[in-house]
């Protein structure tokens, strides 16, 4: 479909659910209150690594108002996990990070529950802790999981331990090519843990129904995986667990990985409800949340690249130590992604990178916004500038020199279809004024690029129901946290069904009724639910046309729907109301119900045949570094993004700007800080700094179309990719301003000042 034919796609109508949110009636998980509910609270480990010698709950149980106290002994002895089943909902025998849940209480009030937690006596035998992911692989490091085998790909004589994931990016003969390179640059980069810090705290509420079913309310991004893992860990069948999505006040992947994300808050709440025989609700305190829920992991990345004098890259070698935390969580997937992306998204004929995802005594890695990508890009794109500097080449020219063309392969992607990388670089160069803008003293300019996956991951469905009055109800499996369900999905259905956007409702996820979905993760909202909703709307339209055709004495192919009227094309007077057809359907097909799904097997096959149409991006910025304080101020920031076809323009810009802000935060200030015992030093918002309006530059966003993606109308996912370039773009601008290359995040005033001093520049 050519762009000009769209009626609604590409515009920016008001967000579904906007009014209730601005008047304070938006219902989030935290606003729930079940009749007769008890208040749940969780006792968390006070040690990062310890044996549990004994737990005595007798005193806690005696407190008036306490209804139940549970420990691992009260739950089925079942482990959960994504790659490894290495975790219980409540710690059994051992704790592996400071926020590890040990026991839980349900009581009449939050105050009584808190009092009861204090009366639970846990005797620990502290063990040595592993904090640094590289150190944790060494033979002398403490062992976190005695019964977890190393990945099979690691040789038995490798003298490595605590590894739960091993990924490789091996292409050609990197050693030989490196030996033949004119210039070799070798560096080590490191990123630290950040917390996604969605504003709404995690909650769970649970209630046993009279028929023996368990209802769970969760502000989780992946209600179906929550159902699956809650059922498994509580020993229930899937039809006996119903998960209802409460509205989400942000997620960013931090609420995305089943029960792992909330450190099993949903099954723990379910267990309390079962034992107490009363509804129970748990609300995490923000500081408790910062130490216990899933995070964007830190990574240590060794990177070495060989280039020819003319700037042609010939080889890369490297090693990644990716921090899983106390359990494997999403670390294996994120570490694998980081390993592949350390190979870059430029032409790379020879590559040899090994990546290890490592258990440490810290909280668990989740799929936080671009898992593995921002970390790798900090190394790759900083390193690109280091190479350019050594070659005496302009960083933009060096990147363009190594940009792939359609049909080329990059590390991890056998074939690219369209390649927007060069165009995004050229636009960013133009917009930032590269080579033209006059920089004052202490100012510098920097650029960095990025890419993100497009089609990997499971599919999902949509159901479009046309009601008797011509309004439309849409069921998808993705939740509304400010992404596609409230913005693009009504538009897609409106476009296909000729119904105004405001007459379309997208229903919140209820696992009893919604189509299955892996979750609102992986930039897959538009790809999965967008495609499925479009196909479901087309299916509904076909049913409508079939019924209307006989009434209008026309062929279904000659019909169109405009403003809820089904008309004969070219003869608009020959029409019947959509409401009439939808009502008549009751006597014919029962109801107009369109079904659609995103067929991931077909998408992967398509990509294999024609190549990946993954998005690319380039960010550029100008910064000013204060040599006395180390403070970095961003003066100008441009973000250029290939998004295929924008569905909701303002929403896609909002995704890009929000994602960029999160990584600008990681670049300049954000970090979860640990002491040597594995204790989090900055759990509260008082100490955990993130970008406020005065730190943020105006992000100047440019959307690039013309490189169609695998989504509906050629759209591409946009939720994560803008997290990829910012850290390196800022680091490169700091280098340009000061001549100092900082290789460990964050680029906070104290770290910048230290680096300047070490270089004799301050």
């Amino acid at each position: 479909m050519a762009k000009a034919e769209f009626k609604i796609i590409g515009t920016s109508p008001a967000r579904m659910g906007g009014v209730e949110r601005v008047v304070g009636k938006g219902v989030y998980g935290i606003d729930l209150m079940l009749k007769d509910q008890l208040h749940g609270a969780i006792l968390r480990s006070q040690y990062a690594h310890a044996k549990i010698v004994s737990i005595d709950t007798s005193e806690a149980k005696k407190i008036p108002g306490v209804h139940t106290v549970v420990t691992a002994a009260d739950a089925p002895n079942v482990r959960f996990g994504r790659s490894y089943f290495d975790r219980h909902i409540l710690a059994r025998d051992k704790v592996r990070f400071m926020g590890d849940p040990v026991a839980a209480v349900a009581a009449e009030s939050p105050a009584i529950a808190k009092q009861a937690l204090k009366k639970i006596k846990v005797v620990y035998e502290p063990l040595p802790v592993a904090i640094d992911p590289e150190e944790a692989t060494k033979p002398e490091a403490p062992t976190l999981h005695e019964d977890m085998p190393l990945p099979k790909s690691i040789p038995a004589d490798a003298k490595l331990k605590n590894i739960c994931g091993h990924a490789v990016a091996h292409v050609g003969d990197a050693e030989k090519a490196m030996a033949e390179a004119d210039v070799v640059v070798e560096e080590v980069y490191e990123t630290k843990m950040i917390h996604p810090q969605y504003l709404e705290p995690r909650i769970a509420a649970a209630q046993m129904e009279p028929n023996g079913r368990l209802t769970v309310w969760a502000n989780a991004q992946a209600p179906f995986p929550v159902r699956q893992e809650t059922a498994k860990t509580l020993g229930l069948s899937l039809n006996n667990v119903r998960v209802i999505s409460a509205g989400l006040g942000g997620g960013f992947g931090g609420k995305g990985s089943g029960i792992t994300s909330g450190a099993a808050i949903e099954p723990i709440c379910g267990l309390l409800a079962i034992k107490a025989k009363r509804p129970v609700m748990i609300v995490l305190d923000k500081a408790e949340e910062t130490i216990s829920t899933t995070i964007r992991a830190g990574a240590k990345m060794y990177i070495k690249t060989g280039v020819k004098k003319d700037g042609t890259i010939v080889a890369r070698t490297g090693k990644v130590f990716y921090d899983a935390g106390g359990y494997s969580g999403f670390g294996v997937q994120a570490g694998g992604r980081c390993t592949n992306m350390l190979g870059g998204w430029y032409l790379m004929p020879n590559c040899h990178i090994d990546g290890y995802t490592v258990y440490t005594n810290k909280q668990v890695c989740g799929p936080v916004r671009g898992p593995g990508g921002p970390q790798a890009a900090f190394a790759v794109e900083s390193h690109m500038d280091s190479i350019a500097a050594k070659l005496g080449m302009d960083p933009v020219e060096f990147r363009l020199k190594n940009t792939p063309k359609p049909g080329d392969k990059i590390v991890g992607v056998p074939k690219l279809r369209d390649v927007s990388l060069g165009e995004t670089i050229r636009i960013a160069k133009e917009k930032i004024g590269w080579g033209k803008v006059k920089l004052e003293k202490n100012q510098g300019i920097g650029i960095a690029t990025g890419s993100w996956i497009e089609s990997a991951g499971p599919g999902g469905g949509a159901i479009v129901k046309v009601n008797e009055d011509g309004s439309v109800t849409v069921h998808i499996g993705k939740i509304d946290m400010g992404t596609i369900p409230g913005f693009g999905i009504p538009m897609i259905v409106a476009e296909e069904l000729g119904v105004p956007v405001e007459d379309i409702t997208v229903v919140n996820v209820d696992t009893d009724a919604s189509p299955w979905d892996a979750g609102t993760v992986g930039s897959r909202g538009i790809l999965v639910s967008g495609t499925a909703s479009r196909l479901a709307a087309i299916d509904a339209r076909n049913q409508i046309f079939k019924m209307a055709a006989s009434q209008l004495e026309a062929s279904p192919d000659d019909l169109e729907i405009v403003d809820k009227q089904i008309r004969v094309k070219g003869t608009p007077a020959k029409a019947v109301a959509l409401a009439t057809i939808a009502t008549n359907a009751h006597n014919v097909i029962g109801e107009v119900i369109g079904r659609g799904y995103f067929d991931n097997v077909a998408a992967v096959a398509e990509e294999k045949q024609h190549g990946s149409s993954q998005p690319f991006t380039a960010h550029a910025c100008i910064v000013e570094v204060n040599p006395d304080t180390g403070n970095v101020k961003i003066l100008k920031y441009v973000a250029v993004h290939d998004i295929g076809q924008p569905i909701h323009k303002a929403a896609v810009e909002g995704q890009i700007e929000g994602a960029a802000a999160m990584s600008i935060g990681q670049a300049l200030c954000e970090q979860v800080v640990f002491d040597t015992n594995g204790r989090t030093m900055n759990p509260s918002f008082v100490d955990y700094l993130m970008p406020t309006i005065n730190m943020m530059p105006r992000i100047e966003t440019t959307l690039v179309s013309g490189y169609p993606g695998a989504g509906p109308y050629g759209a591409k996912g946009a939720g994560e990719i803008a997290c990829v370039p910012p850290m390196a773009a800022i680091a490169n601008a700091i280098y340009n301003a000061t001549g100092v290359r900082i290789k460990t995040l964050p680029l906070s005033p104290e770290n910048v000042l230290r680096a300047l001093k070490e270089a004799g520049k301050a």
């Binding site: 504003l199 006040g249 923000k286 946290m481 406020t692 992000i699």
Partner: protein
């Protein structure tokens, strides 16, 4: 010891009881069920719980419920005139500034307090007024757009 708190919320006399240790946010949300004001950091850092207290925007999470005695309070529920949204509310919708929407009530309250003072806010005015309101979704672009649009509409410039 329980306190009886008589206060004025959104122009209505309201009464409820609270413990001496109860925060104003808890009193609003849990006792009076004004759930539009949001709980987040509980340390006065994020602005999600912002309300207008005797004409000034404050963080209700670090204010005691007892301070509400005899006070005049405006919460997000008190801004719209029936079905007609306040210009700040309408501007947040129109510019796409509402993503997840969790910071939105506190933000709108802070912006209303700003635009009650001036309908020609400078960049510095805006920074000062909302630097205590964290938004994790938008990167602030659309929020700044919303503030300018609301100011223009209130002043009759748009």
């Amino acid at each position: 010891m329980s306190l009886t708190i008589n206060t004025m919320i959104n122009g209505q006399s309201v009464s409820g009881s609270a413990e001496a240790s109860t925060s104003l946010l808890e009193f609003l949300r849990d006792t009076l069920e004004y759930k539009g004001t949001k709980l987040c950091c509980n340390t006065g850092e994020c602005g999600a719980c912002t309300i207008i207290y005797n004409g000034m925007p404050i963080n209700s999470c670090v204010t005691m419920a007892a301070d509400a005695i005899g006070a005049e309070i405006t919460t997000i529920e008190g801004l719209a005139d029936g079905d007609k949204l306040h210009p700040v509310q309408q501007a947040f919708i129109d510019t796409g500034a509402v993503q997840c929407g969790y910071c939105t009530p506190g933000y709108i309250i802070s912006v209303k307090a700003l635009l009650d003072r001036t309908t020609k806010p400078t960049a510095e005015d805006i920074e000062e007024a909302v630097s205590g309101n964290i938004c994790r979704c938008t990167g602030y672009n659309k929020i700044v757009d919303a503030i300018h649009l609301a100011a223009d509409r209130i002043a009759g410039r748009a």
